[in-house]
Amino acid sequence: MMASRFALLAFLALLAGCKREEREARLAPPIAEAQGAVLVMPNGISGRPHDVIAAQGDAFRNNAYQLSQGKRLFEWFNCQGCHADGGGASGPALMNGWWRYGPDPVSIFLSIRDGRPNGMPPYRDKLTTEQIWQLTGYLQTLGASTASLASTSRNDAMHSRPAENRAPAQAGHTTRPSP
């Protein structure tokens, strides 16, 4: 009795993990196209992007493979040049949970794609839409107060911030004692 109930529980827990591990290297072209259909002002003057668009970002936030791709891009495209591994330098901090343009994925997506005043360059010509979504997903895990199970871990590099799976990030971020 107990064993079967336990097995069921474990099974369900694992089933939830299922989607997190899927590795989709190639989005179907129509989906990829749809994912680019994010407009700053959907009705021409103002307005919020449709919820469906935001929901598309979910696939990138809860999937371990996509998050690790986002992390790779963060490094490859030198985001730390301004944001210093999320701690903030000439660009704003990315791991304190405070987002200048709002914490929703669409805002983050737009910040990367179209750039923002005072120095954030647009990346629409450097990254594909899929990659921008991957980066968005990764950035959301940076400031999370509880770590997602799909979250990435530390890099094989100098240690400059706590691993992403150690949330809340800010709490564990102590300066290194000097020798």
């Binding site: 530390r154 240690h159 706590p162 691993a163 150690r166 564990g172 102590t174 290194r176 004692p177 020798p179």
Partner: protein
């Protein structure tokens, strides 16, 4: 096949101590396994130290006081431990009870001091490899104190029940004492490694 009886073993004792006891051998085997675990952890420590440009890496040497206090407490606890072993051998229920209570306290004390020992390492487990191996060494040893204390507490509780006055329980008390020596002894090389090597 037909049997022919060649000996009557009715006269054999019903429980043996030391090398005639299975649990003694089991304890020994566990100590061997865990001892190898400790040796490997120490080997990893020395390996990392040998490839590092300087040691300790990016941190001041650990503050030695809590570790030294623990070493002293552990070494001192060897005395009541030895007594418990002897009393158990003599099957003296009252003294074994008292001894086990003392040993429970003697086990909990170093655990309390250990709360201050982790910060005294002056490095976090996720700062660098030096911090990682330090935390693992200390964590590994703490786990051993913890399990032995749990074992001692349960055994103490058993001793105060009707199951206490039994040769088997005295054997358990002896094996528990044997294991505590192991916990004390393993601390010494770890202590030397953690606090001595960075100061070489």
């Amino acid at each position: 096949m037909k049997h022919r009886i060649v000996a009557d073993l009715s006269g054999l004792p019903l429980h043996g101590a030391g090398s005639s006891s299975q649990t003694w051998w089991g304890t020994l085997a566990f100590m061997l396994i865990e001892g190898i675990g400790f040796v490997l952890a120490l080997a990893v420590y020395l390996y990392l130290a040998s490839i590092a440009p300087q040691w300790p890496l990016g941190a001041p040497p650990p503050d030695p006081w809590p570790g030294t206090i623990i070493a002293a407490l552990l070494l001192l606890s060897a005395i009541p431990n030895w007594l418990v072993g002897r009393w158990a051998e003599a099957q003296d229920l009252r003294k074994v009870r008292i001894g086990l209570v003392i040993m429970s306290v003697a086990g909990i004390l170093p655990l309390i001091v250990r709360i201050w020992e982790f910060p005294a390492l002056n490095v976090s487990w996720d700062s660098n490899a030096y911090g990682s191996i330090l935390w693992i060494l200390l964590g590994l040893h703490t786990a051993h104190i913890l399990t032995d204390v749990m074992d001692t507490l349960v055994l103490t509780a058993v001793m105060f029940t009707r199951h206490g006055d039994n040769k088997r329980r005295y054997g358990d008390a002896q094996d528990n004492a044997l294991y505590w020596y192991f916990v004390v002894l393993t601390w010494l090389p770890i202590y030397l490694c953690i606090y001595g090597v960075p100061r070489l």
